[in-house]
């Protein structure tokens, strides 16, 4: 594995998006992973529609039929991959633009599918495996506890105490070998995470969190997706 890796340097990551005042983080995590996978499959970076997921994805937990993806009220990336697999794929952002509300009817047009899911998998809770899957398969959909993100401005977040109760969906796009952590007086490796709160949040829309201890549950729910070429 390389010491440092960042899919932004390889053209697999679209610009930072903004979910607005809507609990649709899960849809941005899903599209980000499929955008990267589609780039690897086709060579084209295409921004995909979160609004399609918000409006049309009501995939439910197979064991709890009343727990379903539900637009601004929340969802889960793996359920969204399952929807995308079943529905045929996702449209382009420009063909189904984001509104940040979930009161609209589903306007999915099968004739305008831009990316298709071939398959998706969950990655084991092992940071080397997460890094290997990131490098091999593209950006990964991950869940995290976001309590420290409300006040985050920059640097590498490495809280001494952080709940592992997952409440936010984001996109893992890379990692770095070392960023100086003054309190620990040593270099600390970190993950690079794309968020969906606009470019004015964090480090130009990105969050850095230290690697090595499943901090804030970042290793707990990691998904990789593969795309089918539609061209």
């Amino acid at each position: 594995l390389p010491m440092d890796f960042d899919w932004r340097d390889h053209g697999a990551v679209t610009p930072v998006k903004n979910q607005g005042s809507c609990g649709s983080c899960w849809s941005f995590s899903t599209t980000g992973a499929l955008e990267g996978a589609n780039f690897l499959a086709t060579g084209d970076l295409v921004s995909l529609s979160e609004q399609q997921l918000v409006d049309c994805d009501h995939e439910c937990d197979p064991e709890e039929k009343d727990s379903c993806d539900s637009g601004c009220s929340g969802g889960l990336m793996n359920s969204a991959f399952e929807y995308t697999l079943k529905s045929g794929g996702l449209m382009r952002e420009e063909d189904y633009p984001y509104t940040g509300t979930d009161r609209g009817a589903c306007k999915f047009d099968k004739n305008k599918i831009a990316a298709k899911v071939a398959n998706f998998s969950v990655v084991s809770l092992d940071e080397d495996q997460i890094a290997a899957n990131l490098v091999k398969n593209g950006p990964l959909a991950v869940a995290i506890n976001a309590v420290f993100m409300q006040t985050y401005i920059g640097g590498v977040s490495c809280p001494f105490i952080c709940s592992k109760r997952l409440d936010h969906g984001v996109l893992l796009v890379g990692y770095g070998a070392a960023s100086y952590a003054p309190i620990r007086l040593k270099e600390k490796p970190y993950w690079i995470i794309k968020n969906s709160w606009g470019e004015n949040w964090g480090e130009n829309g990105y969050y850095k969190i230290c690697r090595g201890h499943n901090v804030c549950g970042v290793d707990s729910m990691v998904s990789t997706v593969a795309a089918v070429s539609t061209s």
Binding site: C25, N78, Q129, V147, I153, A181
Partner: protein
């Protein structure tokens, strides 16, 4: 010692939104900057006063986060006038009741040496 740790990581130039030991003393000034920077307008004086109280609570929270997370910089963000509950409701959205299917395909173990 806490203050010493904070000084190691906080930008004392234009502030950049980071909290320091003076932030709470100058909370009204920071709130004015916050409103201008993020275009915040409140409909009534009551709403304004309530948001200011939330803002001050979040300054204290940012200081706590700074102590717990000294390698990062914590401070005023676009969410500084929201309670933690409002923040979770409006900007998070991972549905914890949904679980990974029991038959979820597990990614094959990849070689990581060399």
């Amino acid at each position: 010692n806490d203050d010493l740790l904070i000084r190691q990581v906080v930008d004392h130039g234009d502030g950049g939104g980071a909290v320091d030991e003076n932030s709470l003393v100058n909370a009204d000034h920071h709130f004015t900057i916050f409103k201008r920077k993020f275009g915040k307008v409140y409909a009534t004086q009551e709403e304004h006063d309530y948001r200011f109280s939330v803002f001050k609570a979040n300054l204290r929270r940012a200081r706590r986060h700074q102590k717990l997370d000294p390698a990062a910089v914590h401070g005023v963000t676009q969410f500084s006038d929201l309670t933690p509950r409002e923040f979770r409701r409006q900007f998070l959205g991972l549905n914890r009741r949904l679980r990974l299917p029991s038959d979820a395909h597990k990614a094959p173990i990849l070689p990581t040496n060399d």
